[in-house]
């Protein structure tokens, strides 16, 4: 160790230094780019390239780099919260408006102030949806809502009421042309997202709203008489009733039933359009019909928005990006090219609707819609409400199921 080991120690030191120097080179590069600033954006892979291309101009104008990283959309919220906690979150990310409450309660996003002229170009409801406690937390760019897709060969006319649709569908089923009246996903766990259209049409409600339109978690309506009456109406079409709504239809088979011509009507979303075009079915899009003589059916509207992460090292540029670029018509149209979602920027929407009749039809179907509540309490309702709805469709006692769902939710949200 004393004498002969000297060269060996020297060699180890030399290799260590060389290797560190290589690593150091990388770190230096990192340092340079930090000086040059890299704006990191998280997006789902479908839109990543479009955002990258659209952001290139922004990058050039401001002398920065933009790095767009693709994550599965459903993972973004959870991953972002964990990354934020660990201090390596992106500067900007794409998300759904109903995440807002949870993002805010975890202190993970920055409020955004939109200049009045920019705000004026966006649909008012979209801004309301991203408003939380009087603050805007993200910049909306697209919206989506479910609608009724019908097989125009089997059912040429758009039904005005749910009853009319059931009548047409039942005739087709009895004549053996189809095997189902309607393909609407329920599943064993229920699907409160889709069911909301019928639920609201029959007068049910989830949370009350104050005068300013803020959701009020203290006014939980799941176990209310109105909601129970609404589900009783829905139960008439359940497995023990007309058999139109069934738990065996899930999000895994609902689309194929329609594409194969087994169901003339399909409660679909914008994500089904591409496959529907491919399936060769001659389809038409119309609003989901409400019950006769009741409220119009009100599907949930989901907005997709760009958020700025709290604590972002590039928050000045990130804010600049979301306020002045995301609201820009050209940027929205570029994104539309890559991923055809209905824009909330009114100018872009007009342009797009003129070209694509589907977009106009989806917009019409969403006219009676309501933004999905964005309060964190909303997250606690999905599971219990879904289970109750599935049980009711399976023939369970309506009052019992809704009241126990109400109790579970109330306990979870601390009331």
């Amino acid at each position: 160790m004393r004498f002969r080991s000297a060269p060996a120690v020297t060699a180890i030191a030399a290799i260590a230094l060389t290797a560190t120097a290589c690593g150091g080179g990388g770190a230096d590069e990192g340092g340079e780019t930090a000086a040059e600033s890299t704006l990191v954006i998280w997006s789902d892979p479908e839109r990543a390239d479009a955002i990258k291309a659209a952001a290139a101009e922004f990058a050039e104008a401001n002398g920065i780099k933009v790095d767009v990283q693709g994550l599965a959309f459903g993972d973004i919220q959870g991953d972002l919260l964990n990354a934020h906690q660990a201090g390596n979150a992106p500067d900007v990310f794409i998300g759904a408006h109903d995440w807002t409450g949870n993002l805010v309660r975890n202190g993970a996003v920055q409020p955004v102030e939109l200049p009045q002229d920019r705000a004026a170009g966006l649909s008012e409801t979209s801004l309301q949806a991203l408003d939380y406690d009087g603050q805007l937390f993200g910049v909306p760019y697209s919206q989506e809502n479910i609608f009724l897709m019908r097989n125009a060969d089997l059912a040429p006319e758009a039904p005005e009421t749910f009853e009319e649709m059931v009548e047409v569908g039942t005739e087709l089923k009895e004549s053996g042309e189809t095997s189902e009246v309607l393909s609407m996903a329920v599943g064993q766990e229920g699907d409160p997202y889709r069911m909301n259209a019928l639920f609201t049409s029959a007068g049910g409600y989830l949370f009350g709203q104050d005068e300013e339109g803020n959701w009020d978690p203290a006014d939980l309506g799941v176990g209310s008489d109105e909601s129970i009456a609404a589900m009783e109406k829905v139960a008439e079409y359940g497995e023990d009733g007309e058999g139109v709504l069934r738990r065996s239809i899930t999000t895994d088979n609902d689309a194929s039933l329609f594409y194969e011509g087994e169901a003339p009507f399909f409660v679909a979303g914008p994500w089904n359009i591409a496959d529907a075009d491919e399936s060769g079915v001659d389809y038409e899009i119309s609003p989901i019909p409400g019950f006769e003589g009741e409220e119009p059916a009100s599907p949930y509207i989901g907005y997709q928005a760009f958020f700025v992460t709290e604590g972002s090292a590039n928050s000045a540029l990130a804010q600049e990006f979301v306020t002045n670029y995301v609201t820009d018509t050209d940027f929205v149209l570029d994104l539309y090219e890559a991923d055809p979602r209905m824009p909330v920027q009114t100018e872009a929407l007009d342009e797009v609707s003129a070209d694509d009749p589907n977009i106009a039809a989806i917009a019409e179907a969403g006219a009676e819609g309501m933004p999905m509540p964005s309060i964190p309490e909303m997250g606690e309702t999905w599971e219990p409400l879904g289970v109750a709805q599935a049980a009711i469709i399976g023939g369970a006692d309506v009052r019992e199921a809704m009241e126990s769902a109400h109790d579970t939710i109330a306990e979870q949200i601390g009331q």
Binding site: A16, T18, S37, V104, P115, E189, F321
Partner: protein, 538 residues
């Protein structure tokens, strides 16, 4: 260093030290080849580099504990590989390091999480919560002035005092500093309202502004009691007011609009008002064994927990038992000497094992569909397989047995072939029936090889997440307990708590994970003990 090894050994043992005994490892232990020496030097060099690479970010983050740990590990590696005394450690160290890094640390981390309230709304520390509460309460009134912003400085672009050059709707210009707002004359203003030149100020480029994002977020030009002009992006500024203010003296947050005072509750990790309303942003605090108490003693949670635990054990036991019986039975049938087409049969039997289990579970799920599933169509039934608790449980077990038995068959076949046929023949000569010779000769010998595998199968199925999640997602759920499904295993239940759409409850889920860990460990230890007892009897 090994290169220096002579009789005086590697350490600092002085002249006259007794000759060292021969080390285990024979000729490989001491005088390695030249190539070996170089490989060792290179690997140690690389390892040192790895250590330096790990230390740098820790140093930047002022994490002295982390640096100490890295130094200690590097030192340990050096000591083990340079010392001649630690030959066994040379073989053990890499495995031990990986064991610590990937097994023990996660378990310890889960344990430490299980005694906190880590969940949505309680992720960060108190300072962060206060910062968010204050930042989120800044609101601009409807008629507040909106300015076009140009960020400038009176000093160097990197660190000079920030100044907001503001242009209002009428085109008047102002300079805003931390002291307040003053009129600005003689500035050159673009039509957009951006200031391009102003005497005495250096205009910052977008990149320069961005580099000071942190300061910018804190920066506000005071304009009155509690109001200030804050930036939004690079080119707009608004007058706003923070409506919620933290006061250290009372450790409370006051809402200046409503006058409600929220006091910090360090036991629950949030600010609560007198009426029990809380501010959404909380912080992480230790809650002791509350999470454990919740599922062990709280009536609602305990009933879910124990129902799931009973089903979980029943599931693991029945799946293990059934795959063992089925696998062994088929192995015995195909073990008959002189059977024709043995290879073909074996391939057929092993097929389920060769397919992707993920795809198979989804296929099984579809086969159980009430209206469109294969079972009901073929059998002409209308059973709601996955909608009824007992049929769903049967379905999950059935699918899992189908996927699991080929493995048992393979192992049993191997074990059977290792048992000499003479033993069975001898038993038959002694007058034993076929059953007796199987029961008393073959089976005990078989169990020696099979017991550890049965224990492993049990432990695996105890936490068989895929089998349940892909077929039923834990369902069916009853409206009375919509969070605990009839086929839920502890692991799927835990997963739903930690990662579902509702509030993520990491602390509570970690407590459940610790519980699962304890249950599986105890069961494994007990059965391994019992199996070694079995061996001694043999």
């Amino acid at each position: 260093m090994v290169a220096s090894k002579r009789d005086d050994g590697a350490g600092a043992s002085g002249p006259g030290a007794p000759a060292r005994p021969h080390l285990p490892g024979g000729r490989f232990a001491g005088n390695g080849s030249l190539v070996g020496q170089f490989a060792k030097i290179a690997l140690l060099g690389l390892f040192t580099a790895l250590g330096v690479w790990a230390v740098l970010p820790l140093y930047v983050g002022d994490n002295w504990w982390g640096i100490g740990l890295v130094v200690a590990v590097v030192g340990l590696v050096y000591w083990v590989y340079l010392s001649k005394r630690a030959v066994p450690a040379k073989y053990l160290l890499p495995g031990v390091l990986f064991l610590v890094a990937f097994q023990i640390l996660p378990v310890l981390y889960t344990m430490s999480t299980s005694v906190t309230n880590l969940s949505d709304g309680h992720r960060g520390d108190k300072q962060q919560a206060i910062a968010s509460i204050e930042a989120y309460s800044v609101t601009s009134s409807e008629d507040a002035e909106e300015y076009t912003l140009t960020v400038a400085t009176t000093g160097a672009p990197e660190n000079g005092a920030l100044v907001f050059l503001l242009t209002d709707a009428e085109g008047r210009t102002y300079a805003g500093t931390e002291e307040g707002l003053s009129e600005l004359d003689g500035a050159t203003v673009e039509p957009s309202g951006k200031v391009t030149e102003a005497f005495g100020y250096t205009i910052l480029s977008p990149t320069q502004v961005n580099a000071r994002s942190g300061e910018l977020q804190e920066f506000a030009v005071p304009t009155g009691e509690g109001t200030g002009i804050r930036s939004s992006g690079l080119s707009t500024a608004f007058e706003g007011r923070a409506t919620r203010v933290y006061d250290e003296a009372c450790d409370c947050v006051t809402d200046t609009r409503t006058g409600v005072v929220y006091h910090a509750d360090d036991e629950r990790g949030a600010f609560y008002s007198e009426d029990g309303d809380r501010l959404a942003q909380g912080w992480q605090v230790g809650v002791g064994f509350d999470n454990f108490a919740r599922f062990l003693f709280d009536p609602t949670f305990a009933s879910s927990f124990f129902t799931i635990l009973v089903w979980n054990i029943a599931f693991a036991v029945s799946v293990t038992f059934l795959v063992f019986v089925l696998g062994l039975a088929i192995a015995l049938v195909l073990h008959v000497p002189g059977l024709r087409g043995k290879v073909a049969y074996r391939v057929l039997v092993v097929l389920p094992y060769a397919m992707s289990s993920l795809a198979m579970f989804l296929l099984w799920r579809d086969m159980f569909n009430t209206d469109f599933g294969l079972f009901n169509r073929i059998l002409g039934l209308e059973v709601d397989w996955l909608g009824d608790p007992w049929s769903a449980r049967a379905a999950v077990i059935l699918a899992n047995v189908w996927l699991g038995y080929p493995y048992m068959f393979l192992v049993a076949t191997g074990a059977l072939q290792a048992i000499p046929r003479e033993l069975g023949q001898a038993a038959q000569i002694d007058g034993a029936s076929a059953w007796q010779s199987f029961r008393h000769v073959t089976l005990p010998l078989l169990m020696v090889a099979m017991t550890p595998i049965l224990i492993a199968t049990f432990a695996f199925n105890f936490n068989n997440f895929n089998a349940v999640w892909l077929i039923t997602q834990g369902g069916p759920f009853s409206p009375e307990s919509p969070t605990a499904g009839a086929t839920d295993l502890l692991i799927t239940y835990t997963y739903r708590l930690a990662f579902n759409e509702a509030t993520a409850q990491y602390g509570y889920a970690a407590a459940l994970s610790v519980m699962i860990f304890l249950i599986v460990s105890v069961m494994s230890v007990v059965s391994l003990r019992r199996s070694s007892a079995l061996k001694e009897v043999d």
